[in-house]
Amino acid sequence: ETAVFQTPNYHVTQVGNEVSFNCKQTLGHDTMYWYKQDSKKLLKIMFSYNNKQLIVNETVPRRFSPQSSDKAHLNLRIKSVEPEDSAVYLCASSQQGTEVFFGKGTRLTVV
């Protein structure tokens, strides 16, 4: 049963455009994450965020930014997408002591 919801499922856009992906969790968790899964299915964490602290993976380009309205939502904005941004973006959430729960992902294709 999915409890981390991501929209859209797919998005195709052109180089240079801005995109935004939405994520909502209904588990009452206090921490949310964004992971990137590339074409080789390698998973790398991009951000972790709770209402106290944003931690950014130092390898994430500045054009990526997380946006949160409350602890149940963590959106991902990409300013001026580039071809290497094509990937599946996975949103996740957790609470201290629990495992991490993942959404189904948003597949971004940059043409």
Partner: protein, 114 residues
């Protein structure tokens, strides 16, 4: 920095056989270790975790994993395998202290032939 290695990109076996997916890790302290499974078109699903204590931990779907500190491994096992186990499996490490940030291995695609 920590790392996780899954040396087998693909594993293929017949239904009814025993499966073992390999995972090794590098971390200076005692890690928390996890296995997740990803079925085609679906999200990652938690299978099991090792925090401390017994070397063998049992998870969902009949899977278990054995933690071996001596060779820094955390192999996933199941017997017998079923065709529905075909999926991609990820081993992951979380730094001690439970900050919930996971470092994943490359994943292993398991194909179980009926």
């Amino acid at each position: 920095a920590q790392s996780v290695d899954q040396p087998d990109a693909h594993v293929t076996l017949y239904e009814g056989a025993s499966l073992e997916l390999r995972c090794s890790y590098s971390y200076s302290a005692a890690p928390y270790l996890f296995w997740y499974v990803q079925y085609p078109g679906q999200s990652l699903q938690f299978l099991l975790k090792y925090i401390t204590g017994d070397a063998v931990v049992k998870g969902t779907k009949g899977f278990e994993a054995e933690f071996r500190k001596s060779n820094s491994s955390f192999n996933l096992k199941k017997s017998p395998a079923h065709w529905s186990d075909s999926a991609k499996y990820f081993c992951a490490l979380e730094e001690a202290g439970g900050n919930n940030k996971l470092t994943f291995g490359q994943g292993t695609v398991l194909s179980v032939i009926p």
